[in-house]
């Protein structure tokens, strides 16, 4: 099946084109953007990114680990210090807090790698250096008979060029 690449100059143009293509029933849509633009990303993937789940799991693991580590170690070999209880929650909260951040941060990074599918070892055939300059690219896989229609649709949304991606 042919792939069509449209090149756009403005985020709202490519977002509008992507939304219309999705409404028309095309599911294999990909965009390239030089910078983050919510409207472009939402046009292709309307659901919120699941990276949040990773952060939550990491943070919860961190807080549990922090308290478990300190409480267990303080009671595994009990040493009386300044008449304080072995299980002193206030100072251990600091350790639990730091581990919440540490595990949360590392899991968020893992979330980026997993959800963003990084590292990616294959460069998309339509990708080129212009998309890390200022251009936006919209790639859609379609049937032969849809090529003319998509070409028209992209140009209607101010695509500066539309071309067939060479296999």
């Amino acid at each position: 099946m042919p792939q069509l690449l449209g090149v756009f100059g403005q985020p709202h143009d490519i977002a509008a084109a992507a939304r219309r293509l999705r409404d028309r029933g095309f599911t294999d849509i990909e965009t390239f953007a030089p910078a983050p633009f919510e409207e472009v990303e939402d046009a292709v993937l309307p659901k919120p990114s699941p990276v949040r789940v990773f952060t939550l799991i990491g943070g919860l693991t961190g807080v549990v680990t922090g308290y478990a580590l300190t409480l267990w170690m303080a009671n595994d070999w009990q040493i009386m210090l300044g008449g304080k209880p072995f299980s002193s929650i206030p100072p251990y909260t600091i350790i639990a807090f730091e581990l919440t951040i540490l595990f949360g941060g590392l899991m968020t990074l893992l979330g980026l790698l997993t959800i963003g599918r990084l590292p990616s070892f294959k460069t998309h055939k339509a990708y080129s250096a212009r998309f890390s300059a200022e251009d936006f690219g919209l790639v859609v896989t379609c049937r032969d008979r849809d090529v003319a229609e998509i070409d028209g649709l992209m140009r209607e949304h101010h695509a500066s060029e539309v071309s067939v991606v060479e296999a």
Binding site: Q10, P11, E30, T31, F32, A33, P34, A35, P36, F37, E38, V40, E41, A43, L45, P48, S49, V51, R52, T55, G59, L69, M73, A74, D76, W77, L81, G82, K84, S88, P91, I94, I95, F97, E98, I101, L102, G104, G105, T108, L109, G111, L112, L113, I115, G116, R117, L118, P119, S120, F121, T123, H124, S128, A129, R130, F131, S132, A133, E134
Partner: protein
């Protein structure tokens, strides 16, 4: 006679223009910083490495001779190393503040300076971490502070602020590195697309095959948001924990509840000053005036003014509490601070941190870059002395006059302290040439928005 060989290429190919990929002005301007190195650059790098190596040599000497070569004298066994440790941890606060807190507040002006500030954060934490090892003397035993299983089945004491510090600094170092790296990924892809040879190989690996697809950007934005949310309380906690190293004790001059906010404000103050000290020359040398504008510097100087007022208030509050508490030891400690053997350090601290930044009330001074540079350097000096004053005067005048003492930093300590600046600067100088010093994708985001809405950002 053999005919002459045909030309290797038809003439048409020679006159056909080589296709040049369209590139944006932002890419060209900001990637240019990484190209080529001047004599001045090499001179600075050599100077930084020289200082670092000198400090390394002295450190080897210290390992050989023992901590006796430091100027420690009873009762003062926390000296220039701990002072410099706190100083560098403080410097490390600007990066995360700019990247995380200003991100959450949607302060657009952070985009021009956040990358360099984040890099400085990482380098400053690395520098600070050296001092923990240098200070304990037997650096190879530093791992004793970690909770690891050992033959004695003995665990670390989690009620000690030094343990909190270990966890806070480790977390801060890790999180700030993650933050810096995540922000760098799209920019590394930009650099990858425009480089050749070994640079292309490095950027290809580090950019993880980034192509700016919607899936990648979506998870990237979400990651930056969540890291900011995590880093915001973290940045406030780190210097609070460092301050508790002092405030949890009963030493007069240290035992104060104001310490956490006082230290955090001071850290932000010194961090912003250091970013200005480094970025004013960088902007000038690499002609980045279009990206790092006077407006950015002015906003940073407003931060300096605000935190200077907080720090100045804390100085006042300390004296007020010493007087109002009626505790004689506190009163003596603070009296000796201003008029005792360390009066010079104290007044350097007060003048540089509380009085000099008041000049920033005037717009003329906020927008006059050379003056701003001088003020930022004075603040750096003042903030080093602040930690010196807190640590040394506190310890030198405790409860019992019979055990009062005087500490003077020895030459090995001073060389190691100077070397830490070399250590920090060499990282920064190498970073300048290997990584984009301004967040290109973020600047582009603002530019494209501005173009779409027909105005300038």
């Amino acid at each position: 006679m053999t005919p002459p060989p045909p030309p290797a290429e038809p003439v048409a190919a020679l006159i056909r223009p080589v296709p040049v990929a369209r590139d944006s002005q932002v890419n060209r301007d900001l990637l240019r910083v990484m190209e080529g190195t001047s004599i001045g650059y090499w001179a600075l790098l050599h100077l930084a490495v020289f200082f670092m190596l000198a400090a390394g040599g002295v450190w080897v000497y210290q390992v050989y001779k023992g901590l006796g070569i430091a100027g420690y004298a009873h009762p003062i066994f926390w000296g220039a190393y701990i002072v410099t440790f706190v100083f560098w941890v403080g410097i490390a606060h600007a990066g995360t503040l700019i990247s995380a807190i200003l991100y959450l507040f949607r302060a657009k002006w952070r985009n021009a300076i956040n990358r360099s500030a984040e890099a400085m954060t990482v380098f400053a934490v690395l520098t600070a971490a050296q001092f923990l090892g240098i200070h304990v003397g037997r650096m190879w035993k530093s791992y004793f502070i970690l909770p690891y299983p050992n033959q004695r089945a003995l665990w670390v004491n989690f009620k000690s602020p030094l343990l909190w510090d270990t966890f806070a600094i480790t977390t801060y170092a890790t999180t700030s590195m993650v933050f810096l790296y995540v922000g760098l990924i799209p920019d590394l892809a930009i650099a990858r697309d425009r480089s050749t040879g070994w640079r292309r190989a490095i950027y290809s690996v580090l950019s993880l095959g980034w192509q700016g697809t919607s899936r990648q950007w979506k998870s990237h934005s979400r990651t930056v948001l969540h890291l900011s949310g995590l880093a915001t309380p973290l940045v406030l906690s780190v210097h609070s924990v460092v301050s508790w190293d002092f405030a949890m004790s009963i030493v007069p001059g240290w035992h104060a509840t104001i310490f956490a906010p006082y230290f955090v404000a001071g850290a932000i103050f010194s961090g912003f000053a250091m970013v200005l000290t480094m970025m004013i020359p960088v902007r000038r040398i690499y002609g980045l005036e279009a990206y790092i504008t006077d407006y950015h510097f002015e906003n940073m100087s407003r931060f300096l003014l605000l935190t200077s007022i907080i720090v100045g208030y804390a100085y006042g509050a300390e004296y007020f509490m010493a007087w109002y508490s009626g505790v004689e030891a506190e009163q003596t400690s603070f009296w000796k601070r201003a008029f005792g053997p360390y009066w010079i350090s104290t007044w350097v601290m007060i003048i540089c941190n509380a009085f000099v930044p008041q000049l920033l009330w005037f717009k003329k001074i906020r927008t006059h870059v050379p003056t701003l540079f001088v003020i930022s350097v004075l603040i750096n000096i003042g903030m080093w002395f602040e930690r010196y004053v807190i640590i040394i005067t506190g310890l030198s005048r405790e409860y019992d006059p019979a055990v009062w003492g005087i500490y003077t930093p020895s030459w090995p300590e001073l060389i190691i302290v100077a070397g830490s600046f070399g250590f920090f600067c060499q990282f920064f100088l190498i970073f300048l040439k290997l990584f984009p010093v301004v967040a290109i994708a973020e600047v582009k985001e603002l530019e494209i928005h501005a173009k779409a809405h027909g105005g300038r950002h």
